[in-house]
């Protein structure tokens, strides 16, 4: 990275947007569904099945260098005909430009996208959040489980438009399920990075972990 050009990302996006767009269209053709500019941000809609390939190319191509994944999120529109969109917000730190990639998903089909965790490790928790809130399954994600709601949460995916504001269950049932949850069960040793350090741990700690006192290491 020669220099980090910050501050003028929006402007840079407008200038650079067509470049990325032309390159994408010439290279991936029909996989690029459509494109648009909103508030100075270049948006490209891409096909679900080739999205991972496109994102990998955007990261690795020396002309593009989108080496920073700003955010992953999803949008569920109130119109039931309109597809749910998974949104990848990319930034090139070296070039100082932004690009937004959207993947439309048909809501009548299972919501499934390839995980970009292998491209940007930071996608780990934000893809878990999208899974937690929208129920989008990221194939290839190493640890796809709920992150905001507790893991035994059974009411569905709260940010979907068909999810009632207060949830599906009665307050008494929600209270009962919440009280029945074991808060300690949610901290796995993988999360605490103990698993990697397992071999360096003292013997007595290893024995405790093997017994499963706070979860299993392996």
């Amino acid at each position: 990275m020669s220099s980090v050009v910050g501050g003028v990302g929006g402007v840079g996006g407008v200038e650079d947007g067509p470049t990325a767009l032309t390159a994408l269209t010439s290279r991936f053709g029909s996989a690029i569904l459509r494109a648009g500019v909103s508030c100075g941000d270049q948006i490209v809609w891409v096909e679900r099945d080739r999205a991972h390939e496109i994102l990998a190319w955007l990261r690795d191509d020396p002309e593009q260098q989108f080496n920073y994944l700003t955010d992953v999120t999803a949008v569920d529109y109130r119109d039931p005909e309109r597809p749910l969109e998974v949104v990848y917000q990319l930034r090139s730190l070296s070039r100082g430009v932004d690009l937004r990639i959207k993947i439309p998903l048909d809501k009548s089909q299972p919501l499934r996208v390839d995980s970009v965790w292998d491209l940007w490790k930071g996608a780990d928790w934000i893809e878990r959040e999208v899974y937690d809130m929208f129920g989008v399954v990221f194939t290839g994600h190493p640890d796809l489980r709920r992150i905001l709601m507790w893991e035994t949460y059974a009411e569905g995916y709260p940010l979907r438009k068909d999810f009632p504001l207060r949830g599906h269950f009665t307050r008494a049932e929600q209270t009962r399920q919440a009280l029945a949850a074991n808060p300690e069960a949610h901290y796995s040793l993988e999360e605490l990075s103990l698993a990697e350090a397992y071999d360096e741990l003292p013997e007595d700690v290893k024995r405790r972990l093997d017994k499963g006192e706070r979860g299993f290491v392996r």
Binding site: M149, W150, E155, P158, D162, F163, P164, L165, R166, G167, H168, T170, R171, A172, E173, Q174, T175, R176, Q177, A178, L179, A180, A181, N182, P183
Partner: protein, 211 residues
């Protein structure tokens, strides 16, 4: 215990007249009460359970200008095992419900609870899928402090009300220290009651539960 009248708390077998004579208030017990309550009311050790903006006001209450030490509360007890007053300052999501329940269970008797602010008391504006609609569905509450968030004066007034309540307690009443568990699922109130007090109000009645 608590202002909430727990169901069936008075359904215990009727005591015989000898039992009543043994525990009913008399000169000894009232003088003992006076002493014990004086000590308890003026040396409350609060366990602050701060989850939101109310905790900021609580910190202000504990700091120099408002000075909780005047009430014998200068020792914040960050371990529930050495606390006798749980102050829930802020909204309580369902994910924290088992945690506050466990903290409450870890506190030794005698213990009291202040629900500070609108969200802790009723769920406040958060009438949503994540939020406990009043911590009195999880733990018994003695004093509700209204406000969003309450001013330190409000919290201090709540504490003074609690002290007044403590000074009215008597060892002659064994039900004061009973934990009114409805069943082994940890409910403090029966499910119908939880549904009733969690009823939507205000603008949120227009949000239907149906999909």
């Amino acid at each position: 215990m608590g202002l909430i009248d727990a169901p069936d708390s008075h359904a215990a077998p009727t005591p015989t007249s000898a039992e009543v004579a043994g525990v009913s208030p008399n000169f000894i017990t009232t003088k003992l009460d006076l002493l014990a309550n004086w000590g308890r009311a003026n040396s409350l050790w609060p366990m602050p359970f701060g989850t939101a903006c109310c905790a900021i006001e609580f910190m202000a209450t504990a700091a120099g200008r408002f000075d909780l030490s005047r009430f014998g509360m200068e020792r914040m007890s960050f371990s529930p095992r050495q606390a006798d007053l749980l102050i829930c300052a802020g909204r309580l999501p369902f994910k924290l419900a088992p945690i506050i329940r466990r903290i409450w269970d870890q506190m030794p008797q005698p213990k009291w609870c202040i629900s500070m602010g609108a969200c802790a008391s009723t769920g406040g504006i958060f009438d949503t899928y994540t939020m406990v609609q009043g911590i009195d569905t999880i733990v018994p509450v003695d004093v509700y402090v209204p406000g969003c968030p309450p001013r330190p004066e409000g919290l201090i007034y709540g504490i003074m009300l609690l002290q007044k309540k403590i000074k009215g307690e008597t060892i002659a009443d064994p039900t004061l220290r009973q934990e009114h568990m409805v069943d082994d699922r940890g409910f403090f109130l029966p499910p119908e009651k939880i549904d009733e007090i969690s009823e939507p109000f205000g603008n949120s009645v227009h949000q239907t539960r149906s999909a």
